[in-house]
Amino acid sequence: MAEHVAHHFEDAEQQREAATLGMWAFLITEIMFFGGLFAGYTVYRSTYFDAFAEGSRHLDLVLGTVNTAILIGSSLTMALAVQAAQRSRRGPQVVFLLLTILLGLAFLGIKAVEYGHKFEQHLVPGRFFSWPGPHASNVQLFFSFYFAMTGMHALHMIIGIGLLIWLTIQARRGRFTGSYYNPMEVSGLYWHFVDIVWIFLFPLLYLIDRHVH
């Protein structure tokens, strides 16, 4: 039996399926975690629609769209890194992992610039929040959801980048081949999940009622 198969598994195939299933069980808890935020957002958006639309129009659509493209690109490079592992190609694994890290950092950098603008414009909920117009407290609620949801998403990205750095070191040592690449596969699942969360956050936060000017 191959040395990478733990003694309690029949074969490598069964071990890989168990790893994938376990990762999905974890991702389901993540779906429910973000689901609570999405449900709360839905309730308040339907209750304070005008205020949420006002707040949403204040977000930077260009930066949001660019970030969406960057994150989708990082999912592509992650998928190609896993593919390189399946094909036992060491060089492409390292290159695609480094590209994924780079795109992830670019996303976080743009997010940081956006957060910076919000601080300057007094749009961070709390003592210094200020908003002209009648819906100020409800707009503040929108920005609370904005920071909570994008903040939790960014935290997941930071954890993901940590995983990717560890994977790059392991991939460089030639640890992943077509017969064993479980850490690559399950980390890929995590990275794509974080991408999916953003796929929903982007239209919900940036694209409310854009046609009114």
Binding site: E17, I28, G35, T65, A79, Q83, Q86, F202
Partner: protein, 106 residues
């Protein structure tokens, strides 16, 4: 070991579809599609987002080529999310549909 390796052009194709759908959802948000509280716009934006998520789950996350047990897990996860949001909103949205009796003391 029969690992199912997907071709690079499939991954790139999915990536290009995802980018196109992103452009589509941004463009659609600039049109007033009607409905109370923008409901038509919300429907379009969420349908596109669900389509994108489905492509990522099926191809990038290899679920399309995974055992049935994975399908059951993934399906259960999203089904419970649907319960969470549908039952919560059925409460909030239906409040006020039926007239309430006058409160005590008025």
């Amino acid at each position: 070991m029969d690992t199912h390796i997907l071709p690079t052009r499939l991954y790139v194709g999915i990536f290009l579809i995802l980018l196109t759908l992103t452009a589509a959802t941004v463009t659609a948000s600039f049109f007033d599609l009607g409905g109370r509280l923008n409901s038509a716009n919300v429907l379009v934006a969420m349908s596109i987002a669900c389509g994108k998520a489905l492509l990522v789950v099926l191809f990038f996350m290899h679920v399309r080529y995974s055992p049935r047990l994975i399908w059951v897990f993934v399906g259960a996860g999203f089904f419970w999310l649907a319960i969470l949001i549908a039952l919560t909103m059925s409460d909030y949205l239906s409040r006020g549909w039926l007239p309430l009796p006058t409160p005590w003391g008025t």
